[in-house]
Symmetry: C2
Subunit: 324 residues, 2 copies
């Protein structure tokens, strides 16, 4: 099993090449979801996400725009645990979290526990660009989005048969779940999506969107919308989007820890990302992974789980996607 793709291309600070990295979640992929058809569909959607972001970056677009567009493609697909097709909470509803951060200004925006916003990553961008807040939750976030001209959708929009069956299965097995809560939850949170990019202007950005953990308590918020935990960007170091068992990722302050190791320990992106994901997180029992890009365009995609849906593309348009 190859456990990480870490590609280094030396210091590219001086050039104006770009890079886009995406993930569609990390964890254990349960047997019934390991069909060639499903995996082909997932890989195809990852390719579409990469191509969408590439088109923006190739025409001198910003890393922020590329991240939003790439994440939106995955939110709109029922194959991932974000936007349509998100996992359901213990009451059968989808509650969505998302965040975005701009590495140039270190401005950030996030929404959490929203139930009617079709593309939470766009709402996070609005919070960053058009409010003086960073994080808005629940009805308040929806009210803000509406005020900014965003149309709300019915909560039913997000719910798929696949997720209804998943919730039924989990709730049936709840006593077993309690005995192995960390493990089983990790399985059922697979599918968080995220993107990080370095654009031709040498600016970094990171974005993450998720439905969180299946059968979560209403109002539970994971690491995705928490700046420093699931999402972080800083032109001086790197842009990171994480995926996995959110509670562990919050406690380990994963994304900022990768940045701090680069800034304060002079580690490379790859050294820092691998240390946090494969050592620090493992000590917490924190299953999952992260994608990251640094100011030079180096890419890291470490994970400590069975698989992580992921991919990246560079200037030349050649893209790479993988699951295991």
């Amino acid at each position: 099993m190859i456990n990480a793709i870490s590609t280094s291309a030396g210091d590219r600070t001086a050039d104006n090449s770009f890079a886009l990295v995406i993930h569609g979640g990390a964890g254990v992929i349960i047997q019934e979801e390991r069909t060639p058809e499903r995996e082909a569909a997932i890989l195809a959607r990852l390719q579409e996400s990469l191509q969408t972001g590439h088109a923006i970056l190739a025409t001198n677009g910003t890393s922020l725009d590329a991240v939003v567009a790439a994440v939106k493609v995955l939110e709109d697909s029922p194959l991932f645990n974000a936007g349509r097709g998100a996992v359901l909470n213990s009451e059968g509803a989808a509650e969505l979290d998302a965040a975005i951060m701009d590495g140039a200004t270190r401005k950030a925006g996030a929404v959490a526990a929203v139930k009617r916003i079709k593309n939470p990553i766009e709402a996070a961008r609005l919070v960053m660009d058009r409010s003086n807040h960073v994080l808005l939750v629940g009805d308040g976030a929806e009210m803000f989005a509406t005020g900014e001209g965003m149309e709300l959708v019915s909560p039913d929009y997000f719910v798929t048969e696949h997720r209804k069956k998943q919730l039924e299965r989990i709730q049936r097995e709840q006593s077993k779940l309690r005995a192995h809560s960390d493990w089983e939850h990790a399985v059922d949170s697979l599918g968080t999506v995220g993107a990080v990019a370095r654009d031709r202007h040498r600016n970094l950005a990171a974005g993450t969107s998720t439905g969180g953990m299946a059968n979560k308590k209403p109002g539970r918020v994971g690491d995705s919308p928490i700046i420093g935990a699931g999402t972080y960007a800083n032109n001086a170091t790197c842009a990171v989007s994480a995926t996995g068992h959110g509670e562990c990722f919050i406690r380990a302050v994963v994304a900022h820890d990768i940045s701090a190791l680069m800034e304060y320990k002079d580690m490379s992106l790859i050294e820092a990302a691998e240390l946090v994901v494969k050592k620090n997180l493992v000590e917490f029992g924190g299953e999952g992974g992260a994608i990251a890009v640094d100011r030079s365009g180096n890419v890291a995609t470490p994970f400590n789980s069975q698989g992580m849906y992921r991919g990246y593309v560079r200037e030349d348009g050649k893209s790479f996607v993988a699951i295991y």
Copy 2:
């Protein structure tokens, strides 16, 4: 103006002395609140908070218990922006955030945007101890607290005449506010409360509780309940509780940055806390301060604002409280 109290007492790792540090918010203290009577009342309540925590630590209680008890005294006082007397959002309601973190296990619990929980710090403790989540928001957090036997209070419990007048004043001056939003908001968020402690078992803990920013949008969440931003504890480094302009504190990942500078740059607690509060935060325009204690019982209370309500007490029971 003395801008910080930083007391170092060498390495105390080997001994079993304890230390408790508290704050009641940092920012500009507006003229009308600078009366000798009000300041005496604030200092008296800070003393009561210190004594309450001291009694627990002196009888071999845990840093977690001391932090909760010290914060609760301040939440119950209408003088501070937490619990009763919290600032009001743009709709005239109090929406409360709180977090706690255990430095020994790095477990954490937090609630945000709750409207009916009398002591949010106790709800945060319940999330840590009795759920497998870290952060619960809004109605979901209240539902969880009720399920754990906590009684809810009417939203009116939190609202004071003082805060109603404050909101009216801010909304009257809203056009001026927009022009100077950061500055004015910082003024009106003064009063967040927090505590950090090192107990005789050499364990660290941190807790923070707040009503956030006056006239905030409904659903706005600041740094207090964000692990790594407003609250963080790690026995290997320090325990931190921050107070100030929350959006800047989230973007700067303040509490974890102090810890990372100690862990990765071998800085002392005081060097790390001063660098983050007086340099890094200032670059963001982030007005406020932080309190911190390290594994050896050293204490730091830097702030970059006009004042910070604060105090600390050690083994000998001699306490120190100050505003400017």
